[in-house]
């Protein structure tokens, strides 16, 4: 079968060999736990515990503050030390609940579980919502919103994003190999919500072992299929994944449900399974610790809220002094200046690079080579958009579809003049989105 893909994209060296062979290890936090109230897109959660309260692992400590919002759960037992602003990976200060971890990991009683078959669709969505599940691939969009499209009967595809196209990351890969049943279980739960949908596990062809395993396990399932995607970055970008699997295109202003699709990533599917079938809220995730400067590149099962610093220490620290440390993958991750920040629901990786390829680069003049156009999966003109952004030419930026940029970083990656194209376009988009939000508020 032809491998499915999209137009554009790049083939960076993938660095996955560093961490892909080791099984997932468990790490228990010892230090303070920090739970930012805003680990998702939407309204920050509202704290329901105060200073001095004792909390248990799996206990809800902040509740959802609206429809597009998600509750937050403690992942370790202890006493609430403070509710105060703390720095998060993006560099922002976010109101957070700080818990003095007592090291007991005393569990709160799990929700009573009923067989999925007996639950109504509304009940399933309510459980997902209550468990605090958000898109764990990085965006953090509350999952219950995704699972509640206007016309659920029109959903034809439930796509599980198993592409893991970011270089270096292997958490989804390990998850697929070690807990494929939970992944498929999560998909089956979601399929119960959409009677006319088919479940597709979409995997890049650099993971043939996963493809074979998932094929074997879903052999008898009529409603579930496994699709092989061409290995190319950003194959896991939602819009390009939908196109590769279904041939349907959406622009940045549309939702996957507009073309009959629901897309979730691997960790999110497992979280859905755990919430519905095991009664567990979202308190842990798999984080890849990797990079040339990391001593023991490996995947770790992490209690959300543990600090990166502690996680790094527990994992053996650095092999050599890193030139740069990135939260997430090398293409879309955020560089950290300090590791005293908490892991969150959307923390995919901690990447320690031994070389900093970027800071020392002198951007040169654009030579109009057109490589950025060739690789842009959004089919816009990055070199032109970056010029408009530099001059704050809002009108031209919009006219040339600047808002269709998905910030994947391909243009900066290929640019021979080493221009920070993605950065320019990203900044402009942020300004325009903020402006739009403000105008919307005034109306």
């Amino acid at each position: 079968m032809a491998r499915l893909t999209f137009v554009g994209g790049i083939h960076p060296s993938d660095g996955k060999e560093l961490s892909k062979a080791q099984p997932i290890r468990e790490i228990l936090p010892k230090g303070d736990m920090v739970y930012p109230l805003s680990q998702h897109i939407g309204a920050p959660a509202r704290p329901i515990v105060g200073k001095g309260d004792r909390v248990l692992a799996g206990q809800k400590i902040a509740e959802s503050a609206g429809y597009v919002s998600a509750p937050v759960y403690a992942s370790a037992s202890g006493t609430v030390k403070a509710v105060e602003p703390r720095r998060v990976a993006s560099g922002d200060m976010v109101m957070s609940i700080v818990v003095d971890n007592d090291g007991q990991f005393e569990e709160a009683p799990a929700r009573t579980v009923r067989p999925v078959e007996e639950m109504t669709k509304e009940e399933i969505i309510a459980v997902v919502r209550e468990a605090g599940i958000v898109g764990m691939g990085g965006a953090g969009f509350p999952t219950h919103v995704k699972l509640s499209p206007k016309e659920p009967e029109k959903i034809e595809y439930v796509i599980v994003n198993c592409a893991e196209c970011e270089p270096y990351l292997t958490s989804d890969y390990r998850r697929m190999l070690e807990e494929p049943q939970k992944l498929i279980g999560g998909l089956k739960v979601v399929l119960r919500l959409f009677d006319n949908a088919r479940g597709i596990l979409a995997v890049e062809d650099n993971k043939p072992d996963c493809i074979a395993l998932l094929r074997k396990l879903t052999a008898g399932e009529k409603r579930i299929g496994v699709s092989t995607l061409k290995t190319k970055y950003p194959q896991g970008g939602e819009r390009f994944l939908i196109y590769a699997v279904t041939g349907r295109k959406i622009n940045s202003a549309m939702l996957p449900s507009d073309v009959g699709c629901v897309v979730n990533n691997v960790d999110t599917m497992v979280a859905i399974y755990r919430a519905v079938a095991e009664g567990k809220p979202l308190t842990e995730r798999i984080v890849t610790l990797t990079g040339e400067a990391m001593k023991n590149p490996c995947n770790y099962r992490v209690r959300i809220g543990m600090s990166y610093e502690e996680l790094l220490e527990a994992a053996g620290g650095y092999r050599v002094t890193p030139a740069k440390v990135v939260c997430g993958g090398p293409m879309m991750g955020v560089a950290l200046f300090d590791l005293k920040i908490p892991t969150t629901k959307t923390a995919t990786a901690l990447l320690a690079l031994s070389k900093d390829e970027v800071s020392a680069m002198e951007p040169g003049a654009c030579i109009n080579c057109g490589r950025c156009l060739e690789v842009c999966p959004g089919r816009v003109m990055p070199s032109r958009l970056a010029d408009f952004a530099q001059h704050y030419d809002e009108e031209s930026f919009l006219k040339y579809n600047g808002m269709e940029c998905c910030e994947c970083g391909c243009c900066s990656y290929v640019c021979p003049a080493k221009r920070p194209l993605t950065q320019e376009i990203k900044s402009m988009r942020k300004l325009l989105l903020d402006k739009r939000k403000k105008q919307g508020g005034e109306r």
Partner: protein
């Protein structure tokens, strides 16, 4: 302040970059021109070395001096070397060296640096230099005779004479095999189709150029010449037209110049077709036998317009590029 001490480096994503660089691309272009330059030297004698040396040196020195005034050196990107070399390959071997140097100065100073340097020039600097010389010194620029080929006391049994295109235009017969190998008169770098093809293949294999511009250029030129050339689709005639003059050099090394060709894929096809037609018009209906340089320069001027009408449709957007709403 203390907190700052152990801070790590930060920068915006992506944190990895491809190995390609501007100077790397320019270096590859220089390498790709070496077969043609080498054949030119073999064919036209040591004076070709002098012409190439003078134009490259004049181009680099001009850019360096300009950079001194602006306190910013740009010669390390090697683009001036490319311009100088391309210009030399477009000159007759007997051109007085001061003229060759002046052409290079014009190319860099007027066509490139005054418009803002690399990436800002609206026409190919080497071609601008050549056209400047064509207009200023028409006699010397059209002199392809043996007498001119002499460097100091050295003389070389160079194969020179009327260019095959001129012969073709005069209705004489030409030897296509000689044209493909390069055993004809012409500018230093344009005669050998084999040498140019070797360089072009090198660039194509490295992915530095693709066939959009040269392909549409050559195909539209063949069609135009076939229809209006008066000889129909006579394969010998068409092969002579393709191999003759600066067409191969222009199509693969100058029409493909990043800065002065459209950046949009559709625009590149349009650009190529335009060049093919214009070259045909100049060659068939114009007073001279040549047309590539003027065709490309005219095409360069149309680039902003071509780009404007060929903006690609963004992913998931309707044709014509519906602006973002909502």
């Amino acid at each position: 302040m203390n907190e700052r001490k152990n801070m790590l480096h930060v920068s915006s994503n992506p944190h990895i970059r491809s190995a390609s660089s501007t100077s790397g691309i320019m270096m590859a272009v220089v390498l790709s021109l070496l077969p043609a330059a080498g054949y030119g030297i073999y064919h036209f004698g040591p004076r070709a070395i002098a012409v190439i040396g003078v134009t490259v040196a004049a181009a680099v020195i001009t850019e360096w001096l300009f950079g001194l005034c602006r306190k910013k050196t740009t010669i390390t990107d090697l683009s001036a070397v490319v311009t100088g070399l391309l210009l030399a390959l477009n000159l007759p071997v007997g051109l007085p060296l001061w003229m060759a140097g002046l052409g290079a100065v014009f190319a860099i100073l007027v066509a490139k640096m005054l418009f803002g340097g690399l990436g800002q020039n609206f026409m190919n600097p080497a071609l601008a230099g050549r056209c400047f010389l064509l207009i200023s010194f028409p006699k010397q620029m059209a002199d392809f005779t043996t007498e001119a080929v002499r460097l100091g006391g050295l003389s070389w049994d160079a194969c020179t004479g009327a260019t095959p295109l001129a012969a073709l235009k005069a209705g004489e017969s030409v030897n296509v095999m000689d044209m493909i190998v390069g055993r004809t008169g012409g500018t230093i770098g344009e005669t050998s189709v084999i040498a140019l093809a070797a360089g072009a293949c090198f660039l194509l294999l490295l992915g530095i150029i693709d066939l959009k511009v040269p392909g549409s250029y050559l195909i539209s030129f063949i069609i135009f010449t076939g229809i209006f050339g008066g000889r129909g689709f006579d394969p010998v005639y068409l092969a002579a037209q393709l191999s003759g003059g600066g067409l191969m050099l222009g199509a693969f090394f100058m029409a493909t110049d990043y800065v002065t060709r459209p950046v949009t894929p559709k625009g590149q096809y349009l650009f190529g077709i335009f060049l093919g037609i214009m070259t045909g018009i100049f060659r068939i209906f114009g007073p001279g036998a040549e047309g590539v340089s003027y065709a490309i320069i005219l095409g360069n001027l149309l680039v902003p317009l071509i780009e404007k009408v060929t903006v690609p449709t963004a992913f998931g957007c309707r044709k014509g590029g519906k602006p973002y709403e909502k």
